[in-house]
Subunit: 404 residues, 2 copies
């Protein structure tokens, strides 16, 4: 068959298959000397390699546990890990049991599965403005019609536009791409809006533990459970991951939600890839059961210092007319450029002219992009490199401001 | 929200979310003393635990390879594993390069992704009669309309019914559930039919290496490439897995197909779960690069002997009117019971009355089930246990034949 023959067969599906700018760009970034302020990769210098190697040796070193680790696992996840996660979620104020939990291949797979459960072509999917690009790519597969999540029931235009929607998606803690955190009143107002619209809410908790200042705010899941008497009565489905606090490539994330919804998601998991690797789940459990607190402390120390350094560099080097968020956690700072300046063009020029990788902001909007925006990440580059990158970026933006 | 509230939100999707009889039943089978002739689980007694433990220690023992193993991997897969697989596929008569390969979480995920690329609600999806239940559950997610794959262009009713279909799915080698193998002329005829219908063909090669007698037959992918001058010009997408020859729970499978199709599937992988665990891909490469031939020989020895033993037990113990396939490979034997006898009921009674687990055949048909069928697997039970299970099953079927 020719390429045209293939395209005839899958043309009707192509709106489902959209390249993510960020991961496509990552391939272009292999050349040496680039200062990476683009993707939100964790710094591999701090991966707990020895702890993972020890855990793998323990799991595989004993015949009984090795059999479990290497055989097909239950679709719902390795029971001891689910039990541990039930306790962990309890420590975050969420009372739940193993029937409320499904293990996924990182939280990206959770976004895919929840989209699959709720979205038919044309169904309304409400997201924050801006929102995580990876979530858009997951929901795209189900041909959602995007709209904006109302901040509260008083947000009348968004409420009117959101009528009939099925699902909302929010990252209240240090969300990608802005790095900002919803206050408790903002969370309560969002829950009010979701209740009035009758939608389910998918909460992305992937950065919840990466707080560098301020106080924890209860998750939407926890607040909703307080309102309704328990998560089985709530409208929130929560997803978490160990990708940012331990390592990404064990691919272990989880979903927490009402037990009947989890049962549906288990069937989706089964049809999708049967089960997450039992070996990886068992290794992860060995690592986190004694080590998660230490890893979280380490990550907060490193990324917190990098955030401070980046904010100082922005203050030192950004030209007039550029503003930015001051995140209390997470991995990102969001820049707003002067009106009319294109963040995507600035990102292209930063890479070509200054060897600095950043991400233009337009990709984080499924509709109605604010093009004068840009995302910086402070997760990967050293403080020194990031300062130099910000200096170069500031100089570029100053040139662009005067039409050069 | 109540269960009814949730169901209102996802009711339109429920045809996507169907429990697989087999995996649901697996949960019921935990009680001791059951003889397992149901699911096709590989026997964990033969898992290469030491080789996997050694590989994990090597990959994690060196700082550079550990960083790669633990960081986000490329969505298309770990390049050295793809290079190795290109050589492996070459040994099976398929000339291809790394751009023709995507790594997946086992071959189940390949079925999901190919369904997602091709199928819109109501699109025609042609399958063998009977076919793999896990494939049906994967395609269900895209709300396909099922029909039967024609055996050849001369199969006029199936050809007429298949007009307008997008995709066909076939397992030519020792397919689940029948265990039978397509001859080369049958494969050529299927390719002729696919060409006349203009459909893409998804070939499930998961049992390809598990041949116990007879000679290898080239895959549909290889035959089509011979016809068209290369797999980039063909209409076949192939999926393979290490789940049956190495272990299931590293979750490493792959797709081979035309490079432009693979590029689309990479985007689906990215949106679905970003990437397969780099650690697992690196461990698998370490294990298979020197050890796959030995593992395949071992599997052939063990499962071949169990097949022989099961076929002898069937000859010894089945009552008149029961017939069965004589598979040259794979893990399954397919029974045809006397007309009017229900294989699903027989399976229920076998578990309840005889402590024998088997699978009724009706689940393997998406439409128009032949209910007087049953699948047995010889992968997990010892020869002695399987013989006893067959003896009890034969006695039950003899009772059912006389209305008891």
């Amino acid at each position: 068959m020719t390429v045209q023959d293939w395209e005839r067969l899958y043309a009707s599906r192509m709106s489902r298959v959209v390249a993510s700018d960020i991961r496509e760009r990552m391939k272009l970034l292999g050349r040496p000397g680039i200062i990476h302020l683009g993707g939100g990769l964790p710094d591999p210098a701090f991966f707990p390699r020895a702890a993972i190697a020890d855990a793998a040796a323990r799991v595989l070193g004993e015949a009984g546990s090795a059999r479990t680790a290497l055989q097909y696992a239950a679709s719902e996840g390795h029971r001891p890990l689910k039990d541990w996660l039930a306790g962990y979620m309890g420590s975050l104020g969420v009372a739940c049991g193993p029937d409320n939990i499904l293990i996924t291949n990182g939280s990206q797979q959770a976004l895919d599965f929840v989209g699959r459960l709720f979205l038919s072509p044309g169904d309304g999917m409400l997201v924050e403005r801006p929102t995580f690009i990876g979530a858009l790519r997951a929901f795209d597969a189900y041909e959602a019609r995007y709209g904006w999540l109302p901040a509260s029931p008083a947000d009348r235009p968004a409420m009117a536009a959101g009528r009939g929607a099925k699902l909302g998606y929010a990252g209240p803690d240090f969300r990608n791409p802005t790095g900002t955190c919803m206050t408790r009143p903002e969370r309560e107002a969002l829950l009010d809006a979701a209740a009035e619209l009758g939608i389910a809410l998918l909460e992305d908790g992937c950065y919840e533990k990466l707080r560098y200042e301020g106080s924890d705010v209860p998750s939407l899941l926890a607040l909703e459970a307080q309102r309704t008497g328990g998560i089985d009565q709530g409208r929130v489905i929560y997803t978490g991951t160990f990708s940012k606090t331990v390592v990404p490539s064990l691919r272990v994330g989880w979903i927490v939600g009402p037990a009947p919804v989890i049962r549906k998601l288990v069937l989706i998991k089964q049809a999708s890839d049967l089960a997450t690797s039992a070996l990886n789940q068992m290794i992860m459990l060995e690592v986190v059961k004694d080590g998660l607190d230490g890893l979280v402390r380490q990550a907060r120390g490193i990324y917190g210092a990098r955030r401070d350094s980046m904010l100082q560099a922005l203050a030192d080097h950004m030209p007039a007319g550029v503003s930015w968020t001051r995140p209390e956690g997470g991995l990102y700072v969001w820049l707003t450029l002067p009106p009319g300046m294109d963040g995507g063009l600035a990102a292209e020029r930063a890479l070509a002219e200054a060897d600095v990788s950043v991400v233009g902001g337009a990709s984080f909007y499924p509709i109605e992009s604010d093009r004068n925006t840009m995302r910086l990440s402070f997760s990967l580059a050293s403080e020194e490199d990031a300062r130099e990158g910000i200096r170069r970026l500031g100089a570029l933006l100053a040139r662009m401001a005067v039409g050069q």
